[in-house]
């Protein structure tokens, strides 16, 4: 136990002096998630505000469709008259000079008068999310105009327009404000786990592959110290850095949530200090597992570079169950609590949704992660006792 603490103190202090460790553990890892999250939400806010703005439309051939033009203007559409052919309109939209063009063919008025369907062309790029919104609005307005004409045609012929509307669809959205927020916030749980792993990334490398590359490993291994104490001290130091990174990350999330006006999106964020503390408690058992996993992988590598390559992949490991969960939209369930990272993701999501969380689920999640950590620790200690460890 004494040697374990000596190793822990040395690894902790040494890495405190390493700029690379500090950068990844205490800056990049914890702040990347909150930063990206803040950017994403602000962008969504921009877009939602944009939908209330008047739609700007370029129209060609408005002379042949005076009524339609007037109708659009009365609906608050900002029209720009620019006569152009269909091909010209295509080119203009493709080059991005104008977002959406409404082309009214010359025979529009004649067809309308004859009572045959009169095509109008709505030229837009559906791969551009911004103009797609404009095009959708224009399509809605045009459909409204079309049905207004249809109704008056039916009325003129003495038919009740209601007969042409046999089914009426009414949307009822039951998403609660915080439930809707989960859609946005769902990926945040990954960033929390990512911050945990990033916090220990360089320490896990430095204390294993780094030790070998530096040439200090053999001297260390020739000391009369149990290998399990060496490994234990190294993993403990990695854990402490991971906890620091986790705490910083959660703190940053709390700050971001305070400044990002989520209510404007019709969501309530529910990420105050209390939730952050709950997140910390939920993720705490994942910390030794992450530290053991990274130390395990790094112990088998020969050099710093090799360790970096493999550990970058390890950073993605917690995404797999989370991606699986979102594809199959899994909800908190007893059996899923045995899967580390997934269980933490589900528990955090439940807390965020303000759903009740069973104490048993929390215990199972913690026990599963800790047992996996212990198994890995035993494997690492066994590997360190092997002669091949000398390299």
């Amino acid at each position: 136990m004494g040697a374990l603490l000596v190793v822990f103190r040395k690894e902790f202090n040494e890495n405190l002096r390493d700029r690379r460790t500090l950068l990844s553990a205490l800056l990049l890892g914890p702040l990347l998630g909150p930063l990206m999250f803040g950017l994403m939400v602000s962008r969504m806010l921009e877009q939602s505000v944009a939908s209330d703005e008047p739609v700007a439309l370029t129209i060609s051939g408005s002379d042949t469709a005076r009524n339609l033009t007037r109708y659009l203007q009365s609906q608050g559409v900002h029209l720009t008259m620019a006569p152009m052919s269909e091909d010209q309109a295509r080119a203009a939209v493709m080059s991005g000079r104008v977002p959406v063009v409404l082309v009214i063919p010359d025979d529009y008025a004649a067809r309308l008068r004859a009572g045959t369907p009169a095509p109008v062309l709505l030229v837009a790029d559906s791969s551009d999310s911004q103009t797609r919104k404009t095009a959708d609005r224009a399509r809605q307005l045009l459909a409204g105009y079309s049905s207004a004409i249809a109704q008056s045609r039916l009325q003129i012929r003495g038919v009740d327009p209601l007969l042409a509307a046999p089914v009426l669809v009414v949307d009822v959205d039951v998403a609660t404000p915080s439930g809707r927020a989960v859609v946005v916030v769902g990926f945040m749980t990954y960033f929390v786990l990512f911050a945990v792993l990033m916090g220990g990334l360089y320490l896990a490398i430095d204390s294993t592959a780094g030790e070998r590359e530096r040439g200090s490993l053999e001297a260390l291994l020739s000391l009369p110290v149990a290998r399990s104490s060496l490994v234990g001290g190294k993993i403990l130091a990695t854990c402490v850095y991971m906890c620091l990174s986790l705490a910083l990350s959660l703190g940053a999330f709390v700050c971001v949530f305070r400044f990002v006006p989520l209510e404007k999106l019709g969501m309530s964020a529910n990420l105050g200090v209390g939730t952050a503390l709950a997140f910390f408690a939920i993720c705490l058992p994942f910390v030794p597992l992450g530290a053991a996993l990274m130390t395990f992988v790094a112990s088998f590598t020969r050099s710093y570079r090799e360790a970096q390559t493999y550990l970058t992949l390890v950073l993605l490991v917690p995404t797999l169950p989370i991606a699986f969960a979102s594809i199959y939209s899994l909800k908190t369930r007893g059996s899923l609590m045995f899967v580390p990272s997934l269980s933490q993701h589900l528990l955090m999501t439940s807390v965020l949704r303000e759903e009740p969380v069973a104490a048993l689920d929390i215990c199972v999640s913690a026990a599963a992660s800790l047992s996996a950590a212990i198994v890995l620790f035993v494997l690492i200690a066994r590997h360190w006792r092997r002669e091949t460890m000398l390299g």
Partner: protein, 259 residues
């Protein structure tokens, strides 16, 4: 002080030395070391001489217990390195082939880290580091980060680290490899002073001049076997050669014949 303590122990008849008894080690298809026996005594510098790949490092690694022999055993001061690993290693200071330091720690912190791992209590650690720093002439750089030290300063720090628990026996694996002239010179002086303190010094080298300049005894190893073992004079005499170099070549040739 240390020397007198050791001589007292010597009077009580406690054996102090490094002994190898029939050590053998195989890696896959390669028999790295076969039936190696020798003794390195207190107050002497013993050199293990051999070409690259002759099995010197494997031999030393078996002695300080990071490798387990297939057969045979090694003792430090009469303590079996496998049977009582911790106790035996307490009597042994090791400067491995790659004796890297922790760049972000100071020279002193590097030494203290090993001292703490060896279980030295605080007061003893402080007096030991002060003493080593004085003996090795490290005062001017002991507070500097290891990454900014010169080669000579690094080798001193690594040696100080190996000596922090005041071991009676020192094993150095090709200690002069990659060092510049100044660093080699200070290392030689250090080894001489360790010998003068009555310690048992065992080191490996593939450079004959080095061995000839430093050693009281030489163990020549080729293809993992001991080809010759004795004082410089006895090896020269035994091969009727004028220089150690000639003797070395003769020994190697005869070794090839039987190997």
């Amino acid at each position: 002080m240390e020397a007198s303590a050791r001589s007292k122990r010597a009077q009580r008849g406690i054996p102090r030395m490094i002994e190898a008894f029939g050590l053998s080690k195989r890696f896959g298809d390669v028999q790295a070391v076969r039936d190696v026996s020798f003794v390195a005594r207190d107050g002497e510098i013993t050199g293990i001489l051999g070409a690259n790949g002759a099995g010197k490092s494997t031999c030393l690694r078996l002695l300080y217990g990071v490798l387990t022999p297939d057969s045979g055993r090694a003792c430090i001061d009469g303590i079996d390195i496998l049977g009582e690993t911790s106790k035996a290693r307490g009597h042994l200071g090791v400067l491995p082939h790659s004796a890297g330091l922790y760049g972000n720690l100071t020279a002193l912190e590097n030494i203290e880290y090993f001292g703490r791992l060896l279980g030295l209590e605080r007061r003893r650690l402080r007096s030991r580091t002060a003493e080593i720093a004085r003996v090795l002439g490290m005062e001017s750089f002991i507070g500097r980060r290891a990454k900014v030290l010169s080669q000579g300063q690094r080798i001193k720090t690594a040696l100080a680290r190996a000596l922090v628990h005041d071991p009676g026996n020192i094993v150095l694996d090709e200690p002069t490899n990659g060092l510049d002239v100044m660093a080699i010179r200070s290392l030689r002086e250090l080894m001489q002073s360790l010998k003068a303190q009555g310690r048992c010094v065992l080191f490996s080298s593939h450079v004959m001049q080095e061995v000839a300049a430093l050693c009281d005894r030489v163990v020549i190893i080729g293809h993992g076997k001991v080809l010759a073992d004795g004082t410089l004079q006895s090896i020269r005499d035994g091969n009727a050669a004028a220089s150690l170099e000639e003797a070395f070549l003769q020994v190697l040739e005869s070794g090839e014949g039987t190997g």
